[in-house]
Symmetry: C2
Subunit: 367 residues, 2 copies
């Protein structure tokens, strides 16, 4: 769900894309995004006019060209996607494959880079397909030791998990608006640190060309007709983040993840990733033996108006992906989910200790 204040902003009367009021809002948004990414002075943070996938492609299209050596860390569906897009842009990609459901050990990155150098290391911070958090800070250090840039997918982490472009030395990152940032989808926050700006390549795409996008965002030279509605919504969501405080927001996501986990455990439901590798924002819940996961998802949607994600690839049928992020990272959403999942499990004759999930969650909230 999106907060009422952001929905109200979305529906404000549309301004022309060159209106001074809209341009001022875009200027402010660049600052807000730089703060959100914790990006260093001199970074270029803005939002691509497309979904998170367009943000992925924008970072790749401006840093990768024919022959660029990429080490792609693949811990799930979105790591694979990042590798694929690098290949489309001509990179020589080496894949470091990690078992789905586990994080990448930085030591493996060090070894891979020792065997074979790379110009760029790509990694997904929060792997939406498995619920796993990769140790990006450590991986960034390893990449820099080897003289490579590090490009980070922050789709399911930005605004929900600590992410520190400056402190961790991340060169470029992209995200989306509809997850932890709390706006509708349709724009893709991206940030290029000065180190990445200095190593940009000639971009084949016109729509995603960093130089043209800088001309547009910074020097106000026409490039495309940005969606005023989506700018209002994103600006309002970013303002709400500033008001909450980024660290308080991270803490809220962690706290609510622990509340959810307590409830799930009391119901006998486990998570796929081990403790320490789990996302706070996307919880990969193991489907219990004997339960039909698709029926359960359908029942959640039709009976309780709750959508959870299915497992992808090798995890199809094995997990539910439960997003607890942005405005929906709240005790209310968790209690509703725990009640609903108990209901749909009972429908399938699966035995659950009555009310145990809710009780454990309430105790965890108070604790």
């Amino acid at each position: 769900m999106i907060s009422p204040r952001v929905m109200r902003a979305l529906a404000a009367p549309v301004l022309g894309h060159l209106d001074p009021d809209l341009l001022a809002m875009m200027d402010e948004m660049r600052d807000q995004l730089r703060r959100l990414f914790r990006a260093p002075e001199g970074s270029f943070a803005f939002a691509v006019s497309g979904t998170g996938t367009s943000g992925l492609e924008a970072t790749v299209a401006n840093l990768v060209q024919d022959g660029t050596r990429v080490l792609a860390i693949v811990t799930g569906y979105f790591g694979d996607r990042l590798a694929q897009v690098c290949e489309r842009y001509g990179a020589r990609v080496t894949r470091l494959e990690v078992e789905w459901g586990r994080a990448c050990d930085p030591q493996r990155v060090r070894e891979a880079l020792a065997r074979q150098g790379a110009d760029i290391v790509c990694v997904v911070h929060a792997e939406t397909s498995t619920g796993v958090r990769n140790p990006v800070e450590e991986i960034a250090a390893v990449a820099h030791d080897a003289g490579a840039l590090i490009l980070v997918d922050a789709v399911t982490s930005l605004g929900g998990h600590p992410l520190e472009l400056e402190k961790w030395g991340i060169d470029a990152a992209y995200s989306c608006t509809q997850k932890c940032v709390g706006a509708p989808s349709g724009m893709a926050p991206v940030a290029f640190a000065p180190s990445a700006l200095a190593r940009r390549v000639k971009c084949r795409s016109f729509y995603l060309d960093l130089g043209l996008l800088e001309d547009y965002w910074v020097r106000r030279k026409y490039h495309h007709t940005i969606s005023a509605s989506l700018v209002y919504a994103l600006h309002e969501a970013l303002t709400a983040i500033d008001e909450e405080g980024l660290e308080a927001r991270w803490a809220r996501h962690e706290r609510n993840h622990l509340v959810l986990t307590a409830g799930l455990e009391a119901m006998g439901l486990g998570l796929l990733p081990p403790v320490g590798e789990r996302l706070w924002t996307l919880n990969a819940v193991r489907v219990p033996e004997g339960v039909d996961e698709a029926t359960a998802r359908k029942d959640l949607l039709t009976r309780f108006n709750m959508e959870v994600g299915a497992g992808l690839g090798p995890l199809a049928g094995k997990i539910w992906r439960v997003g607890i992020m942005g405005h929906s990272s709240s005790p209310q959403a968790i209690l509703l989910f725990l009640g609903a999942i108990e209901g749909v499990l009972r429908l399938q004759g699966h035995r659950v200790p009555p009310g145990a999930g809710t009780a454990a969650a309430i105790a965890a909230i108070d604790g």
Copy 2:
């Protein structure tokens, strides 16, 4: 301005991008868009998740590759942009340059194709930078005679001017949502006729890959997280078009263009393009001698809350671009504009017959 019904749709609660209700809306939208483009059976009509420029790039990226021979008809800023994007995708582009403010004579296209064949002819139907309508039907016939595909920019014509993909034999076209279609910006309607689908090339872009987009829109295979908010708004705008009737909508745009022109002429203001080459949707008004156009635009915005476009390129300082399209193609908007422009011209000491513009427009409405 956008109609209240579309703004209400925009602000509806956000559904997940795989929600059955949203998928049903997308299916309906494909049919609506095919009707709007008047595209033949077997066409693939959908909306790219980006602005009109992403629609431009999506058509080019799937039809143009290294060595493709393109004849690009350049009658203004957007014709030039289309040629540029073809070059980025590796085409060998021949430009047919036409004086800004005039339409392209199909005979010149015939001659150019006789001198040198082409795989694709590109043309802008409604050149937003000059207010000129190109004779796309005739140009399409010439292109087909020479065995070339024809790719049409319909950004400022779709929903406002007659555009007939099937009848005119147009192979591919793209547009935007915020002009004559009447929704906020952020999506790009595109249509590929079967003839274009059959001649697609390997696409380097992941975000704009036609095959992946077909998998997503037709076979519901995940590709990106479409903006439910923008889908609601576009779907509602397309429903309003169906209700109005496409031909009635074209007639409304023509009628209101004539009302505006009558008012402007009575005030001594002329249009740049000659009669017969004028758009109904974007009116390029010549700035009278001695008037500072930028000041006038600023006064229109700050005093009357009306935005008009500036001249681009060789037309900078020489014209105002007055959009009368979608919900804003209305007698009310025209009367407001005529009163406002009279006011801002007077502020600069420019002599205008008092009330003459408004009087002539009212007479034209009644006539």
